[in-house]
Symmetry: C2
């Protein structure tokens, strides 16, 4: 049995529903993966994350490597026992955080040397090291280490990073020793179609269990993001899961599902939840706004989440204004529900053959609302 | 029917079990009231607080008056609807926070004028105003406004505050307009037995629904606290609930129950929980200590709380060290369980006529352990 099975169960245009079978259970796609950076979706218990509808979570290899360290996680029973989540976990390669958080980076053909952001310890990450850390953590789906330093709209930079990412593909694959842990390759190339084409062709020629589009939404324009997503989603192998990394707002997810993507992760729902930015069907509200002070209705009258079933806008606003940690917790619950409910709705619409109507309605509602 | 009924159901020495019947349900005593300062036990949902064993919570009038304001709470349906707790709520008078948090206090015979700690708004609190705020919030048990500025071991100061507290008793009673909200009087007098005697005699002569010992553990020595608690607990009217305000550590609670007290509140379990100080049967541990990094056992192997049933010391330590808000949340759950479970155990020991043995065992275990 392969490390990962994937079956497409319904199609509607390029959009599709599927079943991702991992060693720790089935994930229905399109799937949103809540981000549990350091082994916890901030403020929530694993059982709560599951009750909201998540079937897989993402954990950050960089954060766990730096603190508490993968050996500590292993001694505590592996990542699943450590954090109390018994479903599938996808780990990233650590590369993105090295480039966004660490200091004094030195990149070479074999890997990257850096000082971590916590106490400045000098560390080194190579494809072999990244895979070894992810395996020690016990990830069910691992990501190949890529070079994500290239500015997406600078051709020379994008090409340099794309070529190094290609050169690291084989070392990533060669490092895998756990045959039950899946490994995904990442397509780079910035906003340049020919670079993306070459990266896609050479990456998908290798025996990865799934393929991700990386280096998207890292500084390029919104139009460029949409164009790259729409163009390259359908070209990723149809028989394998397609993962759009780090995206995005609800309308971005709908567009990406329309382009045939199956898997998503993004800090937006959880980070916005902590910052009082709450999603509703017609847009996003800042619940700290004084207008909500005396409002007895829930965040979103159409929402069936545990927060909207019980608490008023006035109470939520009070929690954030008073600095009560229950505020960020409840905002995270509401936003994650919103995202996971959106995925459920998209899966239903695809299965029913009405995804295009669903997509148009959602985009129209959000365009007519109070803003993204 | 009175605002509050109280029935003693078992006695063992001075210790007693009882049933406190409020308009919002029954509270078994001895009872610990988790502190929900601004309408939330920090980090927890009301349903979680109840599941841990709480039957009544305390809310702070000062905090809710300053932010969001009692009128906002009223417009949002009253304190119970506002915060989602449908059981009994006791509110303090606001006096203690005026003296500990507010700025530019001016005390006079009728009340106290101050600037709040949030934005410096000038406000005034009198007995009539405190009761009005507590009634607007919708408290089930209200506390009379007292003067708690006296240093407990300075006789002139303690006497001045005690006399003003006595002078405010009638204005507190006269201000009550909600016949279904109970009102407790507070005995002051610092560490001076004759002052306490006079305060007790004159306070308990008035038709309060219960009586509290106030001004304890506000700077005096541990021995003085024990002495005052042991001496004046048994002298409070046996037919009414006896409330020891703001106390304390587990061993303090056991000693106070031994002196016949029925009700308690304290920030220790919740505040310590947020600060990584976790209670075990043999003492308190700082879970941030490096010794716990690789430990797979729970905080307390003898504990049946939701945290100890699922998570390791190593994971808990990681959460606090990494600054994850799940740490303070889980520490609060564990510590509150510890306190509420202690109350359950004391009620059982009293009902079974073995409270003195229980008390001795607990004090011995804590004395032998790693410290308070």
């Amino acid at each position: 049995m392969p490390a990962l099975e994937f079956e497409v169960t319904a199609r509607d245009g390029e959009a599709r529903c599927g079943r991702l079978v991992t060693r720790r259970g089935v994930v229905r796609t399109p799937a949103f993966m809540p981000v549990g950076t350091a082994g916890t979706v901030k403020g929530l218990l694993p059982d709560e994350v599951r009750a909201l509808g998540a079937e897989i979570v993402l954990a950050n290899t960089y954060h766990l490597h730096v603190r508490p360290g993968e050996e500590t996680v292993r001694r505590l029973g592996g990542l699943h026992a450590f954090c109390g989540w018994d479903g599938p976990i996808l780990t990233d390669s650590g590369g993105y955080q090295v480039f966004s958080l660490a200091e004094l980076r030195t990149l070479d053909d074999e890997g990257v040397t850096f000082r971590d952001h916590v106490d400045g310890t000098e560390r080194r990450l190579t494809p072999a090291r990244s895979i070894a850390i992810q395996q020690t953590l016990g990830a069910d789906i691992m990501m190949a280490l890529d070079d994500c330093t290239g500015r997406p709209d600078d051709r020379a930079e994008a090409e340099r990073a794309m070529r190094r990412t290609l050169a690291w593909l084989e070392p990533n694959l060669a490092a895998r020793s756990d045959p039950d842990a899946a490994l995904f390759g990442i397509v780079q190339g910035g906003i340049f179609d020919d670079l993306r084409e070459e990266s896609l062709a050479r990456t998908t020629a290798l025996p990865f269990d799934g393929f991700a589009l990386g280096g998207v939404a890292v500084g390029e324009s919104r139009e460029e993001i949409r164009r790259v997503v729409a163009r390259f989603g359908p070209r990723l192998p149809a028989a394998r899961p397609r993962y759009l990394m780090g995206i995005g707002l609800p309308e971005d997810l709908v567009e990406a599902v329309a382009a045939g993507f199956d898997m998503f992760d993004c800090v937006i729902p959880t980070r916005h939840g902590r910052n009082a930015q709450l999603f509703t069907r017609t847009g996003r509200i800042n619940i700290r706004n004084a207008a909500y002070r005396d409002q007895r209705e829930p965040i979103d009258p159409d929402c069936a989440c545990p927060v909207c079933r019980k608490f008023s806008r006035g109470f939520l606003r009070h929690l954030y204004v008073a600095g009560e940690m229950l505020g960020p917790r409840l905002g995270t619950v509401h936003n994650l529900w919103f995202y996971l409910d959106l995925m459920r709705a998209m899966r239903e619409a695809i299965a029913a053959g009405r995804f295009e109507a669903f997509r148009r309605e959602l985009l129209a509602a959000r365009a007519a609302g109070s803003g993204a």
